[in-house]
Subunit: 163 residues, 3 copies
């Protein structure tokens, strides 16, 4: 009973750790290996006109501000795919990999990127190293979208379980 009561102290407004990072995705077009950070590994299907099934693997830089050329403070390694036939919509699973003097460790994240919504909440389902056993919410928002080539997400990482 007490455990139950105690648990209810978790509050959306009071994460135990919070930070914002920007995710930069430059899709490989077959030519620019030097700048590309992601690549399509399964092509879109003919189920609708919104890239249903297109699967992309990425190793994307995460920066503190929105500038692509700012120093990367982490990498986002994982994948996304499009999954709606009537509109653009996608699904993500990835790891934020930190490896600096400031932070070392990872955060594992998955969830639906409901693109019709201004902001979308994904689940932080685990962490390692400095983020040992963490859980929380990653709120993402499209910061810019430049066709198939480049898009940028703002990620507001809120941890509610910190150890």
């Amino acid at each position: 009973q007490f455990a139950s009561a105690a648990k209810k102290t978790l509050s959306k407004e009071h994460p135990c750790k919070r930070f914002v990072l920007y995710y930069h995705d430059i899709l490989f077009d077959g030519g620019d290996v030097a700048n590309a950070t992601s690549a399509t590994i399964a092509n879109e299907t003919k189920l609708g006109n919104f890239k249903f099934g297109k699967l992309v693997v990425f190793d994307d830089p995460m920066t503190r501000d929105s500038h692509l050329r700012s120093p990367a403070v982490a990498r986002a390694q994982g994948f996304y795919f499009y999954d709606m036939k009537s509109d653009y919509n996608s699904w993500f699973a990835y790891t934020l990999v930190f490896n600096s003097t400031e932070r070392e460790g990872t955060l594992n994240i998955m969830g639906a990127d409901i693109m019709a919504a201004q902001t979308r909440d994904l689940s932080v389902v685990g962490g390692t190293g400095d983020f040992f056993m963490a859980r929380g919410i990653a709120t993402i928002e499209t910061d810019t979208f430049q066709g198939a080539k480049y898009f940028r997400l703002k990620m507001d990482i809120k941890l509610y379980e910190c150890y």
Copy 2:
């Protein structure tokens, strides 16, 4: 020590929230865009005769009863693939997306669909919105299987961490 003791109060028989939903998957055959809800994005390999490696992305309706045409109370967005060479077996990762007056938010789920078993337990690894920080178990059971075209799963969602 207390934390440890408190935690043990979690009981399989006493979820803090529970509901049953039906998952309907209609695989795209190249023709029927209007009705299809999923599509194959990587074909089966030649490792055995049970579709090993076939990867399917879905955006499937979830209904309260087993009728395909009942109103969808949520969408299941994610993927599954077959992964056994000696029998049918699969693996799922997906998000239940709720967007109604009754419930708003998501549940993130992953795990093995051990098709040889009558019921299979997947992990609910996180939640957002009305399901903020939830965890639990999703017990799935094949309700009907009509060849490659349509199958239906009963999903018994039991949450053990609610906030």
Copy 3:
């Protein structure tokens, strides 16, 4: 407040359950169906020279010691893909499936396999059956790597939430 304090009793050095298993992956080359345990379902892309985007589905035996022919005490069912253009690096999501007189249930695991590091921590994000609602860390280490054909990982599974 108490919940917060209580939670901090989780210690990296004191898992509530711990065991080591070895993961054996024999990649299907098109010929040896009998011995293969995994298959490539999406080929590497031309983004760099380190198999970026190569996606493999597996159903691999897990043994107590490092011998491939030792009895499997569990199966690891899931997938990995390569995701770096400048070096080998990969990402895993899988389920450990236990089905013996000793243990029955599953553990769900995901995270980055940062191959440049000697050991890499993945997140155990959920469990079922005997591992009901478990969470923890899976520390993996490459035990042997024999080209494209066979590799073996040592997995040190440490659970910090046990019920």
